[in-house]
């Protein structure tokens, strides 16, 4: 097995991984491992913008941004983390501009800003323009810019390698095993510091805006290694996915003035969020859409409502929303300048993940940092998004906490000796692959994955109930058993064996689905994106706390830790 030694190994080359790498490279020897080519990471699909209170269009302040982030997260947000995010926002955006991000501009030549869901002035009084944007391809141009920085700094990239195991020795991270898709070979990476930036895992659900690669390998491998996962029950459904496909229509469409309408043509958000209407937080809008549908006000009796952009005019659509206009034209045959878009909530973002402190250090079961291990981006839970993430806070999270992790790693590196690699590193994975390849009949990945995605969609999506969650848990465990005992590969070759890769990914999806459902079952209240029909109220008395789930003797066990409250006492959440 080829062995690669690097001071710092970063898994994932989206915005968080690239930003960390760019920070750490130079005094450290940094390697980046990615399942895809760096420019194909899912960060590139982010459309609407990056939040920062730079106040270029309207007066704004980081305190308002912090408040919105805490309220948006339904007070589950750790306020020390939200303060870091909001305070550092302007610097982070200026830094991206200096690196070359082609933001849209105001007539004065400043970075242009627009409205986005849940971003307000004066602690909730009215919507504020806080999203810095480059048309509706903000994520893509930031990804390209950071990729350019990685090229400039000569960062070593191992592309199309998928991590299949994490290696620990004496309680500290020591490296990982990766599967090289091109050759079918296993590679051992030996490092002093390891950062996971493997993104989200929306592929747990049937309808999702996430890419095929978003299967949560990093998060699952950490969990399998005995580390806890935090707030897994909080899964964001974005209100406006293209019906059936899940392809996202950016919240920027509503930020620019787009309106949601039911079958009667009514602007129904006026009833659910009288102050900021269509720009309420995503969980609020997604629930409103689902309620309209359930009460028979979907379009033509279907599970959809309309997103109306017809009044925005061709020029504005072309200048600011050209990508989504193109998606709608291609996939629906609709011109959004003249016809409304049929939309439905789509799984979009995981608020939960690997617990870290504000410097990206991964926390173990004892909530103390695990030596040598860091995480950043969607796979991490800082927790800055609490129970529901605000639009445009994700891109900011990636670059703010990616940079902080990079800085912390550099600071630690001089005092971190090389860990020993265990002699049997890689053996377990090799056996697992041989076992898979050895089976000559059974079930293929696709059927099991489809069943899982269906179960999650039906029983653990926007609305949840105890009976459904119990059934989901039972179904998932049955699928896990079928996966373990009967999964069969149709192809057993060495080169570009995505059949094998998808089998390994399926194990991640099943493991993570179990933690989502179990965490959701235990939380008997409604908060942010976690809405229990049988417990419709938020219960701060009992539930103002983070859920943690970790394996104990092979079984998931739940425990809790308090939320950090500094400036803003929990209040009822109305928009």
């Amino acid at each position: 097995m080829p062995v690669h030694k690097h001071d710092v190994v970063i898994v994932g080359s989206g915005l968080a991984g690239l930003r960390t790498a760019v920070e750490a490279v130079g005094s450290a020897d940094v390697a980046l491992i990615s399942k895809v080519f760096p420019t194909r990471s899912h960060s590139g699909a982010a459309q609407g913008g990056i939040a920062a209170a730079i106040g270029n269009e309207e007066p704004d302040s980081w305190e308002w941004h912090m408040f919105d982030t805490v309220k948006g997260g339904d007070y589950l947000t750790d306020q020390d983390a939200a303060e870091v995010l909001a305070r550092d926002g302007p610097r982070a955006v200026y830094e991206l501009e200096h690196m070359g991000v082609p933001f849209n501009r105001t007539p004065e030549g400043r970075i242009a800003q627009r409205a986005f869901g849940g971003h307000t002035r004066d602690y909730g009084k009215a919507a504020v323009k806080r999203a810095c944007y480059a048309a509706d391809r903000t994520g893509r141009v930031i990804l390209d810019t950071l990729y350019g920085q990685a090229v400039r700094k000569g960062i070593r990239v191992y592309a199309e390698l998928s991590i299949v195991d994490l290696i620990f020795r004496d309680g500290r991270a020591a490296g990982l095993v990766a599967y090289d898709l091109a050759t079918g070979e296993l590679h051992l990476f030996h490092c002093r510091l390891l950062l996971l930036a493997t993104g989200g895992f929306g592929k747990v659900y049937k309808t999702t805006s996430n890419c095929f690669a978003n299967t949560g390998d990093g998060v699952y491998l950490a969990y399998r290694a005995g580390l806890p996962l935090e707030d897994m029950e909080f899964v964001q459904f974005h209100p406006t996915g293209i019906h059936g496909l899940g392809v996202l229509i950016s919240e920027a469409a509503r930020g620019e003035g787009g309106i949601l309408r039911n079958r009667d043509g009514e602007r129904f958000m006026e009833r659910y969020a009288p102050t900021i209407k269509d720009l309420a937080a995503r969980d609020v809008v997604s629930r409103a859409i689902m309620q309209e549908i359930q009460e028979g006000r979907g379009i033509d009796g279907q599970d959809i409502v309309h997103l109306d952009l017809t009044h925005l005019g061709k020029d504005r659509l072309a200048e600011r929303l050209s990508d989504i206009s193109s998606f709608v034209r291609i996939y629906l045959g609709i011109d959004p300048a003249s016809e409304p878009i049929p939309v439905h909530p789509t799984c979009h973002y995981m608020m939960g993940g690997i617990p870290t402190d504000v410097d990206g250090r991964v926390l173990g079961k004892d909530l103390q940092p695990v030596t040598g291990l860091f995480a950043a981006g969607e796979c991490a839970c800082v927790s800055v998004h609490g129970a529901n993430r605000l639009g445009c806070n994700s891109l900011l999270d990636l670059v703010v906490f990616g940079r902080r992790a990079g800085k912390k790693m550099l600071a630690q590196l001089p005092n971190v000796p090389w860990p020993q690699l265990p002699r049997d590193a890689g053996d377990a994975v090799r056996e697992r692959i041989e076992r898979l390849k050895g089976r000559s009949s059974g079930e293929r990945v696709h059927g099991l994955r489809r069943e899982l995605q269906q179960v999650m969609m039906e029983r653990c999506a926007v609305f949840r109930r105890e009976a459904d969650l119990r059934q989901a848990l039972e179904d998932i465990r049955a699928l896990q058993a079928r996966c373990r005992d009967g999964l069969y590969l149709n192809y057993r070759g060495e080169r570009f064996n995505t059949d094998l890769l998808e089998a390994l990914e399926l194990e991640s999806l099943l493991g993570l689905a179990e933690t989502i459902v179990l965490s959701a079952l235990k939380r008997t209240e409604s908060r942010g994106a976690h809405w229990r029909e049988d417990f419709p109220d938020r219960d701060d008395q009992r539930w103002l706390k983070h859920t943690l789930v970790a394996l104990e003797d092979g079984e998931p066990a739940i425990f809790y830790r308090p939320v950090t409250v500094t400036r803003f006492e929990p209040k009822p959440r109305v928009y």
Partner: protein
């Protein structure tokens, strides 16, 4: 409806010659070609290899030749090809690694040669640099590039086997040549003022025809040529 596919198959470690394999899938007219390809792979033949990721034309992974023309499998719908058998082949000019997967390293290498990052004056303000909306607008088209390689694979000059750097690399050169914040305008122009740089383009317009993001690629290359004439001659 029933849709017939003819797909290029080749594993250079096992096969001496490429071959074509036929598949039939049930397809809905509104589905993507990628959906059909996935069904073929997931339900019929796990040995088929291709790349994919985002599924809606922003990552650029599933570029391939569809009925003779380079395109993204996630952007072509069944109804667009329903009247014929669908022929799927790897991007031309690239080395095939397996089936529809090609070696993209040389492609990224050529883009990287263009120094795909801003080289601004050293002095940075503590806020953003100013840039007029008009100056920013010059980049509007080229920042749509997703590096899918359809343009470069389709270019007749590249297909001739010349050392022409190809349209995608020039789009990335354009991005910085015409960014008002970049301080190396002349240096960047000189880098593409070569027979294999901007002057390698002979206006075949194939790149423009196939670009899934509708970037006016040939026109952008001609703007670079005009800027070379203006600034360097």
């Amino acid at each position: 409806m029933e849709l017939r596919f003819k797909i290029y198959r080749f594993d250079p470690r096992m096969d001496s010659e490429p071959r074509y394999q036929d598949y039939v899938v049930q397809a809905d007219p509104r589905e993507r070609i990628l959906d059909c390809l996935n069904r073929i792979k997931w339900e019929q033949d796990g040995s088929l290899s291709y790349r994919m990721s985002c599924g809606h034309g922003v990552c650029g992974s599933d570029a391939m030749r569809i009925n003779g023309r380079c395109a993204l499998a996630c952007q072509k719908l069944v109804k667009d090809v329903a009247d014929s058998e669908v022929l799927l082949e790897p991007l031309p000019t690239f080395t095939v690694l397996k089936d529809l997967v090609v070696d993209l390293d040389p492609f990224f290498e050529r883009v990287n040669q263009m120094r795909p990052y801003l080289l601004a004056a050293l002095e940075e303000p503590n806020r953003e640099r100013l840039q007029t909306p008009e100056a920013r607008k010059k980049l509007d088209h080229v920042i749509r590039c997703i590096l899918c390689a359809c343009c470069t694979a389709s270019c007749p000059i590249v297909q001739e086997g010349t050392p022409f750097i190809g349209p995608a690399a020039l789009v990335w050169a354009f991005r910085n040549i015409f960014d008002s914040r970049d301080a190396r305008h002349e240096e960047r122009l000189k880098a593409v003022d070569t027979p294999d740089g901007a002057w390698g383009c002979r206006n075949h317009f194939e790149c423009t025809r196939v670009c899934p993001k509708e970037i006016p690629v040939t026109k952008s290359i001609n703007i670079i040529k005009r800027e070379i004439e203006k600034a360097l001659r």
